[in-house]
């Protein structure tokens, strides 16, 4: 009985002593945390997706409060979150250029040649290990949906053997960019409709043999672009999204259809171009 009493009293008083010391220390060494941090943290979506490049929403909140990150640094929250945070920080939110992930390949089952019938694990990474994938073009989308599996927002679907990203659903967390073994998912401004959807740096003839919609590097787009926004670099057309005014002329002129665009607008430009051509012919004739 005595033993138990001694134990309880001994340890109890020790615990009490340390408790009091800690309580005193917590008052003495209290750190004033910025109330902004908590407010910002509440305004953030709390998905902890890492899309901002920081470990989590709490880290971003701290970075924003310290002025190390922009108020619109959260790609998931979008304009609403940005403006809410801007209100807390007392600054004007710039209209952030929203960007989305985009699969830069159009080589679906109908367009791209398959060099082999792949029977292995249904995963792009596994397919790449087996002789660089089943597609004849070594730059193309394999369509086994490795990106689809990591997307938390259900934005990616596999259509006709290639991955397609729904840009309305995409929150730009960037997970798919990391996973794609071919690295063909890239950032594209949300508003951008004119996109060169090909990655092949091969010679035009080789591209043509392997894929109906590949970029053959003919340079027509470069020639017709009125804004100097398209350049053929290493046998592949590249659009400068800053200079591009989305006039859709290159989309119409591209002989292989490797450049995507808004269908309606493409049609309008096509009609206008035909009229122009007819007028030129008439004046010549």
């Amino acid at each position: 009985m005595n033993d138990i009493l001694k134990t309880v009293v001994g340890l109890g008083s020790m615990g009490l002593f340390f408790g009091v010391v800690l309580a005193y220390a917590s008052k003495k060494f209290a750190v004033e945390t910025d109330p902004k941090i908590e407010a910002i943290n509440n305004a953030l979506p709390g998905a902890n997706c890492g899309g901002c490049g920081l470990p989590g929403c709490a880290a971003l909140a701290q970075a924003i409060a310290n002025g190390e990150a922009a108020v619109n640094a959260c790609p998931v929250g979008g304009a609403e979150t940005a403006s809410a945070i801007a209100l807390i920080m007392g600054v004007q939110a710039d209209a952030a250029e929203k960007r989305v992930a985009h699969v830069i390949c159009r080589g679906d089952c109908n367009s791209a040649l398959q060099k082999a019938d792949y029977q292995g694990i249904h995963d792009c990474k596994a397919a790449v290990l087996a002789n660089n994938g089943q597609k004849a073009c070594s730059f193309g989308c394999l369509g086994f949906g490795t990106c689809k599996n990591v997307c938390d927002f259900d934005a990616i679907s596999i259509v006709d053997g290639i991955a397609v990203i729904d840009k309305e659903k995409c929150v730009a967390c960037g997970k798919c960019l990391e996973q794609c073994p071919k690295s063909i998912i890239k950032w594209v401004p949300y508003k951008q409709e004119v996109i060169v959807e090909c990655n092949s740096h091969e010679f035009g003839k080789d591209v043509k043999d392997k894929c109906k919609v590949g970029c053959i590097g003919c340079g027509i787009c470069q020639k017709v672009c009125p804004f100097d926004a398209v350049h053929v670099i290493d046998k592949l057309a590249v659009i400068d999204y800053v200079k591009c005014k989305q006039c859709h002329i290159c989309v119409v002129k591209c002989p292989t259809g490797a450049i995507s665009g808004n269908l309606e607008k493409t049609e309008k430009v096509r009609i206008a171009q035909e009229k122009k051509n007819a007028a030129v012919e008439k004046s010549n004739g």
């Binding site: 033993d3 001694k6 001994g10 340890l11 020790m14 340390f18 010391v21 800690l22 220390a25 060494f29």
Partner: protein, 189 residues
């Protein structure tokens, strides 16, 4: 002379990480950068030295009350409070260090090295000065090991490591090799 031998043996020969395999968690977790490793080493040194000092008196109290069988739990209580205290102090004094250490600071609580040094002190029948020297030496040994290891890992980061060994596997192998190297100190004392 005896104090010097205790210090030398706790730093090199009976190095806590390399020979006794205590405190492996922070050793592997906070050794990516020399800077944070040094910070962690400092925190552990502080906690270990203080813990040695306080557990010495706690042990005498336990002996006096005749409840030595409560040694483990009493020591854990002391160490946990101490770590809490250190955490508060660091948060106040050096927020950057606090950020860098992150989750590993509370982990010192469950760091077996701290409890280990306290219990080993009691088992070795050390006096007050020897206890503190042993605690400080063990902590300096820990700091030495973790800083050396962090230095190696920083270089590993930029060297051409086979893909299968990249990251943690090569770190574990390196830790093993370092441990073997530390075995060489056995003849010292």
């Amino acid at each position: 002379m005896k104090i010097f031998i205790i210090l030398l043996s706790s730093i090199l020969v009976n190095n806590f990480v390399m020979s006794r395999f205590l405190g492996i968690c922070p050793f592997l977790g906070v050794s990516k950068k020399v800077e944070t490793a040094l910070g962690m080493g400092m925190a552990v040194t502080f906690v270990m030295t203080l813990a040695s000092l306080i557990t010495y008196f706690v042990q005498r109290l336990l002996v006096k009350l005749d409840i030595e069988f409560m040694q483990t739990i009493a020591f854990i209580l002391v160490i946990a409070s101490l770590v809490q205290f250190v955490e508060m102090v660091i948060q106040k004094m050096s927020p950057t260090l606090y950020q860098a250490l992150g989750v590993f600071l509370p982990l010192i609580t469950t760091n077996c090295a701290v409890l280990g040094v306290a219990i080993l002190n009691v088992q070795s029948d050390y006096g007050l000065v020897e206890t503190v020297i042993n605690g400080a030496g063990a902590a300096i040994g820990f700091t030495l090991a973790i800083v050396l290891f962090a230095g190696i890992r920083e270089r590993l980061e930029i060297s051409d490591v086979p893909a299968a060994f990249k990251g943690f596997p090569i770190a574990l192998i390196t830790a093993g090799l370092m441990s073997i190297a530390f075995l060489g100190f056995i003849g010292l004392v």
